[in-house]
Symmetry: C2
Amino acid sequence: MGATKTALFTKEQNEIALMAKALAHPARIAILQHLVKKNACVCGDLVEELGLAQATTSQHLKELKTAGIIQGTIEGVSVCYCIHPDTWKKYKDLFSSFFTEVDLCGPKCC
Amino acid sequence: MGATKTALFTKEQNEIALMAKALAHPARIAILQHLVKKNACVCGDLVEELGLAQATTSQHLKELKTAGIIQGTIEGVSVCYCIHPDTWKKYKDLFSSFFTEVDLCGPKCC
DNA sequence: ATATTATATCGTAAAATTACGATGAATAGG
DNA sequence: CCTATTCATCGTAATTTTACGATATAATAT
C-alpha cells in the first residue's frame, strides 16, 4: 500500500498527473515565476528569493529539472537555471487540451 | 519538518500549487475525464472504471470535491458526481495565465 | 597549495499521500 | 421491520514528500 497504482491508468493520465505533481508546490511555482521574470538566475538567487534552506531549494530545482521544465548550466562556481522552452510548451499544450475537453460539458449537471 | 511552508509564498502561488495538487494523481485525472465524457456518473461507476477499491475511490472524490472541481448530489442510495463548471473555468484560466506568462521569455537562455 | 564560494547530495525526521479492509449511515425494496 | 445497496468514514500500513543540517564536490581566488 501507499504507492500510486500507475499500471491502472493510461499513459496520458499518468503524464498529466506527473506534470501536475511537478507544479504542486508553491516553492516550485515561485521558482518558475522568478525564472520567467528574470529569464534566468543562479541557485543562490532563489535561496534568497524563496526563504527556504539551500538544500531544500536545490531539491525543488532537481524535481523541476527531472520533470524537464527547467535546465541548468554550469557557469563557473554557480549554476544558471532557466525555463526549458520545449517542455514548457508541451506542458502548456497538454493542460490546455485537458481543460478544453470540458467546454463540451453542457450546463445540465446532477 | 515535512510540512509545506505556505507562509513563505504569495496567495497566488499557493493557489496554483493547490490546484496542481488536486490534479496530481492519475486516478483523479481519470475521474475528471470520465465525468467529462459521461457528463455525470455515480461513485460505483468510477469504482469499476478505475479498478481501485471503493474506499480509495471515495477518498479521491473527496479531494476533488474539497478542491471544488466536482460536486456531488445525493440521488437515492447513490451519489451523482459532475464537474463544477465555475471552479473548472477558474482552474482553466489560472493555469492558462500562468503558462502564457512565459511566452514573453525569449529563446536566449543560459 | 589553500581558502572561499556555490551547489549537490546524504541522512534523517516530520508530515502528507495512497491504498484498503472494516465499519457506519442512509435509502430503497421486500 | 429486515435486508440489501451505496457511499462515506475510520483505522492503519506503506510510501512519498518536505525540510534542514552536515558533508561532499567542483571551480575560482589568493
